[in-house]
Symmetry: D3
């Protein structure tokens, strides 16, 4: 059985992520979806907590008919120590043989640990980009087309837009 | 939709856990299975790492025909700060309304946070007990009847018995 | 009895803080003054350690005749985890019903935890601003008018200006 | 001005602590009351959180007419690193010249840092002992005579006895 | 070039350690001496800080004519996470091919990481044992024969016996 | 005996460091070389792990004929708490009387702790500068003249240039 690791922060989960997962599942039997920076929330780069991101991914994959027996969702805390990060991921996760990523540091670290790293074809990369989506949320522009429907629902339900704007206007003031 | 939280360390996952999950799923729509002390492994109380425990649970539930869309598996790091533990669990997890546990401290902490806590009927509690199973593994007694088949396979595959015995004879010596 | 929380980093304690405390004490019986980022010192944003800030606040309030039985001073460590911050503050502090703040993130976090948050009228906000005061200290401009007299004395006693300038010229060089 | 440090965990604050504080205030101008293990709560050794302990101390001292301008209450987190503990305490606290303690490790650490350490006369040491009080709370025996009245009130208000008993029956079971 | 790792806590460095190092240097070109639990001191199991232990080892090896170009001394912090410990050691240290140890957990962890682990012949194991030496120090018995001369000198210079006895009589009392 | 402390991050070890060590050894008997930010690696500011830096320093000093009995190499973890940093360094290290540094914050912190701090004469400071060297490595310019020969060899052996470039093109993208 072939298992692949796919790591992201999913802030938020968007259509680019969804396409990547679909693509990877054509190549392997199972995919481990690692949710990075799991302990962070309520910052501009990480507005959503791990539980909210788990829901976004799980409900979107369900809506798109992806068989839940083919993926694992694993929240992965940052440990702020690149020396130990690959071991940290390996021991939090069922065994995998491949790593799908376009991130050069992730590539470097898994390569040094002797893993095979595969590049992702990215669909409309500039568009399906979480940084772009968070910026649009912050500035009141349209972002809904870039994410699965379920993500729109969850962001609404938790008051996500208001949260991002409150975070966005916070600076160290007092 | 009714969602319940069920937290354990699953060192290892045993038939008592399996019965509890089956029982809970008769009462609720979805169950969140929280894997506590996720960062620990290779100690007498926590011999298996989180990835190994995820496999034990997932493969056992699959073997017993439990629908993967009805449960979430969430590794939960210890934070060694009871003051913050409930908040830690809540934000790592999709929303839940009920907590199933027989542990008095877990009961106390979730009660103080205004959650409804439900006791588990335990099946042959003395027998289906992870401490008992680890002791048997350490002392070379029979433990296989107490866990699902898939757990036996995984313990073999990872050399779990040898690991436990090596840990068991370790003391601070030098 | 009505108790309010007022959180700041107090780097240093200035007249804006003093006015805010006076103002809040007109509305409530007791005020809990939370000293944020308590573990930090000797950085440009946090030049003073918690003990020094406690002295600044306590001696200034004494000088201005504020009854010590009406306030609590509570140092609050950063935990770098917004998910847990409100629980962290609550358990370090006697109970409170109101939070006074103008900071949008603090507002957001306490609102999500169902607390009532009240805005502060700020007196000459641009002037009574700790960032402005630290900049003046660093650049050798006049800052003494912006803080209570006792703060001037303490900054002198601990060699605070020299400290800030040494920190200010430090970069990662070697 | 002479300032003394007095450190305890105050689990709970009892009459022995109260007598010690009274005694110390006869010798010095101000006392810094350090509340150790501040981040702990809901364990058998540390059942009460820092906020609850602050209330116990503050309200008891008020009831006994101790002038609030003569003491500081400083919560002190454990850092689990004896090498750094004295520096940690010093920087969280206004300056002090004396340390009152009967604890040999505290004595050793402050002596190595060149502080003068003074022994406390303990009043009925076996009786006014937090371990004894927690044991009585756990086992349903009478403990109320050993603590100031305000502590009895607070323990009742927060459901402290039930909490301790729930913690007391918790073991690692599942 | 053949390099070996030898890890201990060296609380204190004793003749058994010295013999082991001599023995290992007959087999390999260089030895990396890892000083475990480096951040601990002033506890019964870890009375000496890392700097004191470095001195004990270095001055003893010098006295016994061991060439300083043939060994490395590396303090190694505990990380309390067995999953990551081998990676932690590897990245703090120059490369090594062999691990000398009699500790079953160390053996297990390095075996799982594909290192060759070699057992040490221990010289009078019951005698040359740090636990035994610390017990003798605590109880005022003779311990000096069990350690190199330089260790006796350093323990005296830092007041080590008084320190151990003060730690030994400390319990959580107040 | 006169012992000096010299702290750097040595990312990488360069000729300026080598000259400084030679210079200091003309004034003192022994030098303690503290390797700061020891737990970091694989970042733009800290590309090399502690083990790699230990090798760079040790092999370069050997090549330049510096007697290994005259220096100590001590990896020093960041603790992100300036309040405690001097105590942290002191207890990880054999005793020293002097600190050689040009860094104003290090100067400030050791001065507050009553140490004598000495400035370094820097040789061609703009050139022998680790930031400059890392920039050249990243941008493919010539850097080899600025470091000892052994450092060139080690950087090659570990694939250091490729590592830095991979880190350099990493941004938070997904």
């Amino acid at each position: 059985m072939k298992t692949a690791l796919f790591i992201g922060r999913f802030q938020p989960f968007h259509k680019g992520h969804l396409y990547a997962i679909t693509e990877i599942l054509e190549e392997v039997d199972e995919i481990i979806i690692g949710i990075g920076s799991a302990q962070h929330s309520h910052t501009l780069n990480n507005p959503f907590n791990a539980g909210e991101r788990i829901r976004m991914i799980r409900e979107s994959l369900k809506e798109h008919g992806i068989d839940p027996s083919r993926y694992f969702l694993i929240p992965i805390n940052d440990i702020n120590d690149n020396r130990l990060w690959v071991s940290h991921v390996i021991t939090l996760s069922p065994p995998f043989q491949l790593v799908y990523t376009n991130d050069p540091l992730t590539t470097q670290l898994f390569n040094e640990a002797q893993f095979k790293v595969v590049s992702l074809k990215m669909h409309q990369r500039e568009l399906y980009c979480a940084t772009e989506i968070r910026t649009r949320m912050l500035e009141g522009e349209s972002w809904e087309d870039l994410v699965p429907k379920k993500v729109i629902e969850i962001v609404r339900e938790i008051g996500g837009l208001k949260r991002i704007r409150n975070i966005g206007t916070t600076k160290l003031k007092i």
